[in-house]
């Protein structure tokens, strides 16, 4: 199980969260436009869907799906806790986590060769 699908579920939750004006106001200090909100919501659902597809591709559908639900819970809990106590970090990791996961993946594959 690679970290990337997990990072994607985190980003998905973050996008869905900041598509809600209440959370966006608190953290980003501005009201998102309706278009921004729609884009965030779409991005969130896409991230969650892609993470499911990736988990299934890695472990097969039966176990991949189970893994995906586990990741959804773990990332949602971490996101909510960060949002409460480190809101800026919570938002930043929405982009940072997948980037880190990709970089780590890249690094590992370079080191292996």
């Amino acid at each position: 199980m690679s970290l990337f699908p997990f990072a994607l579920t985190y980003s998905g939750w973050a996008a869905l969260c900041f598509a809600m004006s209440r959370h966006a106001r608190e953290v980003l200090q501005r009201e998102p436009t309706p278009l921004q909100r729609q884009l965030l919501r779409a991005a969130g659902w896409i991230a969650l869907t892609v993470s499911l597809l990736m988990a299934a591709a890695q472990a097969g559908w039966p176990i991949g799906t189970v893994e995906w639900f586990g990741m959804l819970t773990a990332s949602a809990v971490s996101f909510v806790l960060l949002l409460t106590y480190r809101p800026r970090l919570a938002a930043g990791l929405g982009l940072g986590l997948p980037a880190c996961a990709l970089a780590g993946h890249f690094l590992v594959s370079v080191l292996r060769n």
Binding site: C17, H23, I63, E67, G70, V80, L83, T84, R86
Partner: protein, 526 residues
Amino acid sequence: MKEGFRQSMAWLHTWSGLVVGWILFAVFVTGTLSYFRPEISQWMRPELRDVKADANAAEHAIATLQERAPSSPRWFISLPEAREPVVRVTYRDPNGGEGRRGFKSVLLDPATGKEVTARETRGGDFFYRFHFELSMKPLWGRWIVGFCAMFMFVAIISGVITHKKIFKDFFTFRPKKGQRSWLDAHNAVGVLALPYHVMITYTGLVTLMFMYMPWGVQANYGDNREAFFDEALGVPAEVKPANQPGTLTNIKPLIEQAREHWDGANVAFITVNNPSDANSRIMIRRDNEHRLSTSNQSAEFAGTTGELLSLAGEPPPASQTRAVMFGLHMATFSSITLRWLFALSGLGGILMVASGLVLWSVKRAPERVKLGYTPFGHRLVEVLNIGVISGLPIAIAAFFYANRLLPVELAGRADWEVRTFFAAWLLSFVIPLIRPARADWTTQFVAGAALFAALPALNAATTQTHLGVTLAHGNWVYAGFDLTMLGIAALLALTAWYASRTPTSRKPAKRQAVEVSGLPAEAERA
């Protein structure tokens, strides 16, 4: 009944949750521990530290059994796996064993087939069985747990209905707001791990499903319940012995042959029927590491010739469905990451039940203030909450302490470990009876934290399986156990800290606050 649907569901949620909450808490805790049943068993038998899985384990085990119990009507051989690399064989002891129907269980070293002696303990099996039998008579325990699981399901469904803003408050947690925070926390661990809660409760009900209404089976099969299970679950029928001596063929090629049919999956279990008879049968069952189902995929061979007699493939759909539910519940399939994800969700369940129980008290705090005294019911809930929620960790720690401190040669040692567990738990009910509740939450969480924190040290003082050795050798089963104990200690310590400083509500906070309370609350959100 003038109330709306949602109010009536709220009532249902409150009371269905409270009545069974204490048992559910214990069931959740021991269930979560059971994900690590082999590791716990391993840690509790430090004598087995250097035992390693071996490719010829099955051959060695059979050689030992042929020597020890040639006349046993059946042998059961459970092969080593990475998490518990020891062979367990069960056979009928010619000298009359102590177990059920004269059967005796022995641990063997996979590399030699020699018996290994370890201290007598129930290991992780204790938590596993407690999870669905509560250390009661099997039938009673299962009835009670099944009953509680049904209430759990009711509480989950009514909880979702009652939750007013399940989507709007999906990401919301507002700390330091008394009852509001408790409700937020309860909702968060409930909703965010909802797929897990629904799955684990439903599949849990399914694992015990033949218990609830046995009369249909009784009416059709009478006392012959075995026949029902054979037909329902597809277990092949037994063969009669020919009463002529026979010799078993070499097991190794049979294992290879079976594995080929299963795309190289490992063999978990071997049953040999009539091992010294001409009509012997060898049944080889695969493990479930990389699949959800726990269906008994097995291959049956004639014992003397090694001829493949039958290959139980995937069972019919109904039975397969049940097998998948079993598999999901027991998480036998899982990789280490997935197992930890399950364990974290299990922790979510623990926190959900605990916060729900505390919420009942917190919500009624104004009532107590108004009355000017604490009614008996409130006091009862309070004492039970403290005893169950802060006492169970102490009892678990005591169980592990007993494992290390009781003399190895003590008769009935395994039972004494269990007695220590219950004695410690009982004590944590007695203390809150005589002391004010507030101080007790803190004291007992501190006690739990201290016990868990000192466990690796005790381990180092009494065994050679301590972190100094196990980390150096990369023995992660033992090292992981010790490190996890330190993690649990940290969680309990945070809880204690939180309980000691919760200012306003008379009934202090607990565990789910743990994870969050470590960070300064700089973001006070509206």
